[in-house]
């Protein structure tokens, strides 16, 4: 049952992605409405899938990489709806839905077995720590998409060729502001995720910090975003530079998420 829900969600996200890419070439109000409706249906199915897994396993379903990247995508879509509702950034979906689809696709290719949680991890910290981390990462993913939009729009304005997407992309100021706001949401969440992680580690393994690869890379990510905020506030690194940094930051997020689990071994690795 929950597998069918997942497949259906994936299918809807896939069609939404196709429509969102088509929208780049020839967009009308109808295409963006179709794209949004498909995403909403996908999201509803996706939510049911997560609830189903929660009911079956009895804990928040982020116990393996399949569940984790699925949950990560879910957070991104939720945040996407929020931004869409709040700011109505034109073409945002075209830059976010592909990210969601790729994450969901990777999730679908990973083993999906619902596994019992090892006793060490059975704690209320599991929910707190992971949800903080994932919502934070989702904000960074959005900042990544918005950053790319900024770079494209900035390229149009600088090169003085105002064709293509220029008319439909939001203004530079708007993109820069949203990018900044997303990072100011993501950064404290990441900070809290690292702190709660340390507390949990202390109660589970007996020490706050063990230089496990995941911890190291989270710290690197944390430093990158700290830098983004720092140079923005002190040296006025806004606009293009901020956009580039938020893209680099998201690469660190992705590596922390996938790279560490697939390439390096550590305490955070799933079975």
């Amino acid at each position: 049952m929950e597998i069918i829900l997942f497949e259906l969600a994936l299918t809807f996200y896939f069609t939404a992605t196709i429509v969102s890419i088509m929208e780049l070439f020839k967009g009308t109000k109808t295409t963006s409405k179709i794209m949004l409706s498909l995403s909403i249906i996908g999201f509803a199915l996706h939510t049911s899938n997560i609830i189903a897994r929660y009911v079956i396993s009895g804990h928040i379903p982020i116990a393996n990489l399949h569940e984790a990247s699925s949950f990560f995508s879910w957070c991104i879509v939720m945040l996407f709806f929020f931004l869409e509702y709040r700011y109505r950034l034109g073409l945002l979906g075209s830059f976010i839905m592909p990210v969601v689809f790729v994450l969901m696709l990777s999730s679908s290719m990973l083993p999906r077995k619902i596994e019992p949680l090892s006793p060490v991890l059975q704690s209320y910290w599991l929910g707190i720590h992971t949800v903080l981390a994932f919502v934070g990462d989702a904000a960074f993913a959005m900042a990544f998409g918005v950053g790319i939009m900024y770079l494209i729009q900035e390229h149009y304005v600088k090169s003085k060729r105002l064709g293509g997407l220029f008319q439909r992309l939001p203004s530079l100021q708007m993109l820069d502001e949203v990018n900044y706001r997303l990072i100011t949401i993501g950064f404290p969440l990441l900070t809290l995720a690292i702190i709660t992680g340390a507390l949990w580690a202390e109660s589970a393994w007996g020490s706050y910090w063990r230089w496990d690869p995941k911890e190291v890379w989270s710290l690197i990510t944390w430093f990158i975003y700290a830098l983004v905020l720092h140079v923005r506030l002190t040296a006025g690194w806004r606009g293009k530079r901020a956009a580039i940094l938020s893209i680099i930051g998201f690469c660190a997020v992705l590596f922390t998420f996938f790279g560490v689990n697939l390439l390096l071994k550590g305490l955070h690795s799933f079975k």
């Binding site: 009308t28 304005v157 600088k158 003085k160 006025g236 690194w237 806004r238």
Partner: protein, 425 residues
């Protein structure tokens, strides 16, 4: 019953003549009422804008209507009848429909795609409705024109891009800053073109307007006009720290703003974006400034380039719009021709009904003993016979065929439908 357009526009009449023929305010209603008195004209709408004066009519004959409208205009505006000879154009039937659709969709405008015309057309229609000078034909036509124009606007990008330098500057400013209210603006120098662009920017709600001019007095005059403040020319660099938009046109022969100066300004404003429009020729601002982060510099050629691509874009979109209009003309033509056959259909049904009634009465009189049930059955039989008989010709009449006139004539003759002209009224 014929749709006729008689009018003049910026292509056929110069501004002087257009001014003389403007139906302003109460003159419009007066004109509508005068036209109603003209024999042979059943419906009328007058649209009067600075670029066109047109009358949309439902007239019996376009040639006669043309002559009487000419008389009317000459009398109404007290001008020489001959001065209208070359200016007035006449279109009738489908050409007239096409013309009105194109006008509404802003394809016939001086600036193709300008949005005002649709509103003006709606006002003209409302004025005519108010004076009850329209009927079935023009109501349908005008409503259709408005919906065609809306369709053109949503399905093409005809009105999307700015086609003048000043508007292009505003459009760019809006893509750099979300909206211009709350932004501060500086005018450097006081060239005429700069003034025009400045007016456009200011009309979009910028706050804090600063004018820096070499002759301080002139700067103060302009500042007063814009509700801003004047500063000494030497102080402009200092002011730039707070200015988000700068329009420059000083008439200097060399650069008044260099890259290293701008770098300092950017540092002081913490890299907040700046949009600089250099309208001066020769240029007054070092073009390399555009390489700085968060600085967007456009000179006249850049803006003209934007305008040129926009015009090209509009022309491409105009082609799509013409296709839409062709499509809509076709549906309108179908409606029109169904209108012709309607009186015939009605006459046919009435003829059948009257025969049925007559025959039923005769039969009932001859059979006084039958009950209610039998009487109903006989009536039903009669009804279904006439319905089935007139079904096929009715369908044929409603169908859209080339030889419809002939078909209508044939049906009239076969069924002996005379007095059809009475039905039409």
């Amino acid at each position: 019953m014929k749709i006729v357009v008689i009018g003049l526009n910026h292509k056929t009449a110069d501004i002087e003549l257009r001014e003389k023929l403007a139906f302003n305010g109460p003159r419009l209603e007066e004109g509508l009422l005068k036209i109603r008195e003209i024999p042979g004209i059943r419906e009328s709408v007058i649209i009067s804008t600075c670029n066109r004066v047109e009358m949309y009519l439902n007239a019996n004959d376009s040639g006669k209507a043309y002559e009487s409208i000419k008389d009317f205009l000459a009398g109404f505006f007290d001008i020489q009848r001959e001065s209208l000879d070359t200016a007035l154009y006449v279109y009738d039937e489908m050409k007239a429909v096409k013309h009105i659709f194109r006008v509404a969709s802003s394809l016939d405008s001086m600036v193709v795609g300008e949005p005002q015309i649709l509103g003006q057309l709606k006002e003209a229609f409302e004025a005519a409705l108010g004076k009850k000078t329209t009927g079935v034909l023009l109501n349908r036509l005008l409503k259709k024109s408005i919906s065609v124009a809306k369709r053109v606007r949503t399905e093409t990008r005809i009105a999307e891009n700015a086609v003048s330098i000043s508007f292009a500057a505003v459009e760019l400013a809006k893509k750099i800053f979300t909206d211009l209210s709350g932004k501060s603006f500086m005018l450097l120098g006081a060239g005429e073109m700069a003034e025009l662009a400045a007016k456009h920017i200011i009309s979009n709600g910028v706050r804090d307007i600063v004018v820096a001019n070499r002759t301080y007095e002139r700067g103060r005059e302009l500042a007063k006009e814009f509700n801003g403040r004047a500063v000494k020319f030497e102080d402009f660099l200092h002011e730039m720290v707070h200015s988000d938009i700068l329009i420059c046109s000083t008439g200097a022969q060399n650069y008044v703003l260099l890259k290293n100066q701008m770098q300092k300004v950017m540092k002081e404003r913490k890299n907040k974006p700046v949009f600089i429009i250099d309208i001066s020729v020769p240029r007054n601002i070092d073009p390399e400034i555009n390489d700085l982060n968060n600085v967007y510099l456009y000179d006249v050629d850049d803006l003209q380039g934007v305008v040129d691509t926009n015009i090209l874009e509009r022309q491409k979109e105009a082609k799509k719009a013409e296709d839409i209009i062709e499509e809509e003309i076709e549906t309108f033509r179908k409606w029109l021709s169904s209108l012709d056959s309607v009186p015939t259909v009605i006459a046919l049904r009435e003829k059948a009904e009257s025969i049925k009634k007559e025959e039923l009465e005769r039969l009932i009189n001859r059979l006084p003993d039958i009950g209610e049930k039998e009487r109903k059955a006989i009536e039903n039989l009669a009804n279904s016979i006439i319905n089935k008989l007139i079904h096929a010709p009715t369908i044929a009449l409603k169908e859209d065929t080339e030889d419809k006139d002939m078909l209508i004539a044939t049906i009239k003759r076969l069924y002996g439908l005379n007095g059809e002209d009475d039905v039409e009224k």
